[in-house]
Amino acid sequence: MAERVAITGVGQTKYDTKRADVSIAGLCREAAVRALEDASVTWNDIDAVVIGKAPDMFEGVVMPELYLADAMGATGKPMMRVHTAGSVGGSTALVAAGLVKAGIHKRVLTMAFEKQSESDAMWALAMRIPFQPALVAGAGGYFAPHIRAYIRRSNAPDHIGILVAVKDRQNALKNPYAHLHLEDISYEKVAESMMIWDPLRYLESCPSSDGACAMVVAAEDSVSGDRAPAWFAGTAMRSEATQFAGRDQVNPQAGKDCAKEVYRQAGISDPRREIDAAEIYVPFSWYEPMWMENLFFAPEGEGWKMTDSGATAIDGDMPINPSGGVLSSNPIGASGMIRYAEAAMQIRGQAGEHQIDGVRTAMGHAYGGGAQFYSMCILTKDKP
């Protein structure tokens, strides 16, 4: 009961608009094999497999864990499939870690993916049933009004979103796995790109990607590999109702509760000072300042000042999304796990060109649905 859990291996695929070179199983296997290699273990060392992805309609395969059992080396083992909307990549990792924490398994392989090119996410998101408001404008159309509300509340200047978009794409140039490598990214280029969901411009929005991310999570006595692991010091999931009078969709309570819980578990009282790097789920530029407040990195109404001052840049005092984030790669179901994996890579010193010196405490964050689902973790270099 309540065993310590570490991330001992991470694996990512190259993210791209269309990975036509691999099947769905091939894509997932690419990430899984890399995670096993990173942990210096083989398929036989894995006790159970936990996979996650966003809606099955994104590929047209119902409950794909059944089809993926062989490719994930799960035959004869327990296999689970998590789906908690956009936060699923994070939740999947936490379900896997939970199996180890409970003392049930020693090593669990966890993998999350999306192969968006197999279907059309906008179509899938636009499906509706009777008596329910249609969501025909995609995720950006859903979030834009909340962003406008944030700008009105905080009096943030208009250029903040553009700064985030430029910063994350510049970070992505240092990440070989990132989908978008926009060599000529600039403030002007983002500012001049088409306005699609006011105030979100085209280049302030995430791409639609194919990709998979996998991790090996292990118990203390089963840590393997040449590289020191990243330890889970705090894990939490929180959900709130989608729609009700009085729900604050700009600074949702579930996000605040989830953050407080992981900080409590990890013994963090001042997140901006104590966390060295964070991978935060920012699919649309303005969500960086919004989450800075929701996660208590900045007082309410002042998150945009962190972006404006360069604090969230890779060389700032609170680097956010050194990998380039969701704005640079978005295989939806995997995006949350990529945040965890990138946070682990920062701890383990394996982030290459986007490595930040001396990271001892990092945060992974994912959110989903209409910003009512949250999954977060605090990872540390030192055993908690």
């Binding site: 059992a69 327990p78 296999m79 959900s239």
Partner: protein
Amino acid sequence: MVLRATGKAGSPFAAVLGRRPVRTISASGAAAYLGEAMRDVAIVATAQSPALRKEERRNEVEILMPVIHELRENAKLDQDDIGFTVSGSCDYLQGQPFAFVTALDAIGPWPPIDESHVEMDGAWALYEAWVRLQHGDIDTALVYSFGKSSPGDIRRILTLQLDPYYLVPMWPDPVALAALQARALLESDGVSEKDMAEVVARSRKHAKDNPNAQLKGDVDVDQLLNEPMYLSPLRKHDCPPITDGAAAVILAAGDKAREITDRPAWIRGIDHRIEPHSLGVRDLTDSPSTRKAGEVAGVGSGKVDVAELYAPFSHQEIILRRALGLGDGVNVNPSGGALAANAVMVAGLLRVIEAAQRIMDGSADRAVAHATSGPALQQNLVAVLEGE
């Protein structure tokens, strides 16, 4: 009929597992499991909707709400008293992405709750809740599951579970694959169409005592055998009905469970395993994943009074009984099982509920619950429940 306790040596599946037999049972996991390390967790309250062929007037949330209310009332708990909430459902049944999102409204998640969802039968949601309770920081969990099969074409939907490149283009639907499996079983050894009809007759008879069942009544085996073939060798009654429904459970740990109810149904073991997806490498007449899960869950370590097996097709009950080593003395599917009502995504959790009910009402001391997922019993979960 001959009940076989062990798998056929040299089956393709054994070959797949054979490379590392000890490891695949998760030596580490099984050891922790069967030892004293696990926290005692019990089912303390259950609720279910009536199984209906077509819930025309109520959507999924509306079916769920009375079930959740009844459940909390049974346990005398509010949502504030619940440590963890988890559900199981399938977007494709509802015909829209994120179907579980609106279903969460049935819970009333405010203030925010610790919550998760599996795109699997509710039995796997129950497994996740059991794991979560092992962490030791919370004492209660609420599990629910829902599914309306009636609005869509369930046979086509479940076909989309198959390998999208090599199998789906041929559209072998679940009934066709079950027929293949039944044919293999009939041609393998000692199982006859009469054995299958007997499963159906008993299910319908048992269902007479289940107010929530859909198909019930006294049917004659010879009469059943005179029915025309549907998809040879399956007759229509060998196949499950189409059902809409929902079910929910509250789990509690240790003394909390004893506080809530006089006779909790203790989960003494629970495990699940998956087999290869490729039908060509499986022995369809056997269920090695059920056997393995049953071994880890500890089915064989005591007398089994009642077993609730999720066998959507009549011949699958025969395969499952063999895999679990259940003899003639075991009361199998007193609820009527999936041949009497089969709300996809709910039916597995319902087997656990029905088994738990027999423990909670004192009519059984030790029960086995089983759930399945995927074509021709690809993935299976087994739980052992006991009274105190």
